[in-house]
Symmetry: C2
Subunit: 333 residues, 2 copies
DNA sequence: CTGAAAGCGCTTACAG
DNA sequence: CTGAAAGCGCTTACAG
């Protein structure tokens, strides 16, 4: 232990290892990288022993320079504080680590910089691949399609893109969430969520209503934030004809919504029933506990990493099925 | 735009820039790094122009190899999904970016690896500094003290260490939170939080009680998680002599606590009043909204980055004052 | 199976 | 103020 400490100051290099093991530096690389050349078992042992004794750690910068690619994957996300993205980033970090990769996460909600800038910055760091959890402009799409490294878009809605993309089946998930509400007998069910025409959750909400022969209820567009949900909740609570139930497009929005309803003295689910989307931890401890549409975050994370590792994945969209987690906010129990 | 794209494939290097500008590669470095040598204004212009025209981005790996240090700062955190750490990491990323640095965040809650391993991995990446938001063992302390790069510990409790450390004034913050509860007239006030003897929040709770001539109330030790808070809440709710109020050592624990109290049919603050600690966004949208002790996350983040940049900061602890944010869970309004 | 050597793209003394 | 050149620590054809 203390050996290792004193030694680290002078930085052990591959040359030291080679000298100690009595081999060339090339051979050290061969054993550490398992190739590209075979190494005799005994030589291999000597090298591994030298590595251990000297406490050698390969210099990642040198490796990245030499290979033209580091073992890091870049990750672009709007705001890693958002509980859903926090969990998604964590799952991606896990999946990456399992493949010996490290995630470099960058938030795009920063001022004085653009997504394009951040992508360029990331590529200048020689990242081996890039994951983007954000909606891209046409210019940004063109940029990532020609980046020269694997790119995968995550948390995406269906739609054609020039790179592999994946996301939960938003439309189907929303439809089933609303069907559940319909099953409770509620006949006026509001939608609270993004104004983006790409977001299929609003369509799924409409699907369920239409299939049940119900009119489309109120539609409140709100940003994906606590505050967005809160404002929407106030609007909903104060509406002349208050909906009997609401589908919230994210857990965070739903938590904001609950706060607003409580502030207005409304009970959930007795006055307004709620079902949300995401399946974050926070939903379980909301009050009341939220019935929510769980996204398979770990699976999506693993698939995203797999696509990056493959490197030559087909462009196109992959939908992941969701699962309704029933708790009390919808009126069950 | 499309120029830049087609060009990126072949990777523009500093040599290309030098050739285009009609100078040596050294001069390109001098202008890009503002030193170490002065450059004539006109030469400088030519270089900057070449950089722009060619869409040149310095290779970070080459730079890190050459300098022996990258522009990344490493960050070790138990679990970046925890709302408090999510906000802290975000603030640190902001502060780092403002200084032209990038944060590489690593979670220590991973299996099959140790904090020491992760620290070594980070240093092998040539990080320019390391921030640790975790309690260290003696061995880990010895390790970071001899790392050869600036290290700062954050979210720490007071105590002597061989490196700069900072954290909210836990004891004072907890004391004031509990004083607020005392001010409401509650005479039995429980503590819900960490079992760690390093965590001064329990001491602060005791300070306030003692100062008010009140006996120490129930003390429920729980892990820092929703579930930890929930279990503690069940225990509290079912106690033979249920406390009239509780101080929760984190917002996340408090949210779990609220869920348990509601599950037991108890009202907050009417049956049990609650004050918590952290000041995360989630506290504002809890039900009822949580009165909480806000940590100055942005300030602490900026200071941590500043200490890293300084490089030669004095070891020792820096306490940051907290601020009580009054909302409804304590009984106010 | 092993080694000598070129090369990755920077930085920075050293010399002019 | 500018440049030629060594060096950072790896990887990987190329030769043996």
């Amino acid at each position: 232990m203390s050996d290792e400490h004193t030694r680290r100051a002078r930085t052990v290099t591959r040359a030291d290892v080679a000298r100690y093991a009595g081999v060339s530096t090339a051979v050290v690389s061969y054993v550490l990288n398992d190739g590209p050349k075979p190494v005799a078992p005994l030589t291999r042992e000597r090298v591994l022993d030298a590595v251990k004794v000297l406490g050698y750690r390969p210099n990642a910068a040198a490796r990245a320079l030499s290979k033209g690619s580091s073992d890091m994957f870049g990750m672009l996300v709007v705001d890693s504080r958002n509980p859903f993205f926090a969990q998604l980033c964590h799952a991606l970090g896990e999946a990456a680590a399992q493949d010996g990769r490290t995630l470099l996460i960058v938030n795009t909600d920063r001022e004085h910089t653009t997504a394009a800038d951040q992508i360029h910055d990331l590529t200048a760091r020689q990242i081996g691949g890039l994951i983007i959890a954000d909606l891209l402009t046409a210019a940004e799409q063109a940029l990532v399609e020609n980046l020269g490294i694997p790119v995968v878009l995550i948390n995406q809605y269906a739609g054609a893109v020039g790179v592999p993309a994946l996301g939960a089946d938003f439309r189907d998930g929303a439809r089933r969430a609303v069907e559940h509400l319909v099953g409770h007998g509620y006949r006026s069910i509001a939608f609270i969520g993004s104004a983006s025409i790409f977001d299929d959750r609003e369509r799924g909400w409409g699907d369920a209503l239409t299939a049940a022969g119900l009119p489309l209820g109120a539609r409140i567009h709100a940003p994906f934030s606590y505050e967005g949900g809160y404002q929407a909740g106030i609007e909903l609570a104060d509406a002349a004809e208050r909906p009997r139930a609401a589908f919230a497009a994210s857990d965070q929005v739903a938590v904001g919504l609950l706060a607003a309803l409580h502030a207005r003295g409304l009970r959930v689910p007795e006055d307004v029933a709620v079902v949300s989307f995401d399946g974050t931890d926070a939903a379980e401890y909301a009050c009341p506990p939220l019935t929510t549409t769980a996204q398979p975050m770990a699976e999506m994370a693993r698939e995203a990493i797999r696509l990056l590792q493959a490197g030559d994945a087909e462009p196109g969209y992959r939908a992941f099925p969701t699962a309704l987690v029933v708790r009390r906010s919808c009126g069950c129990e």
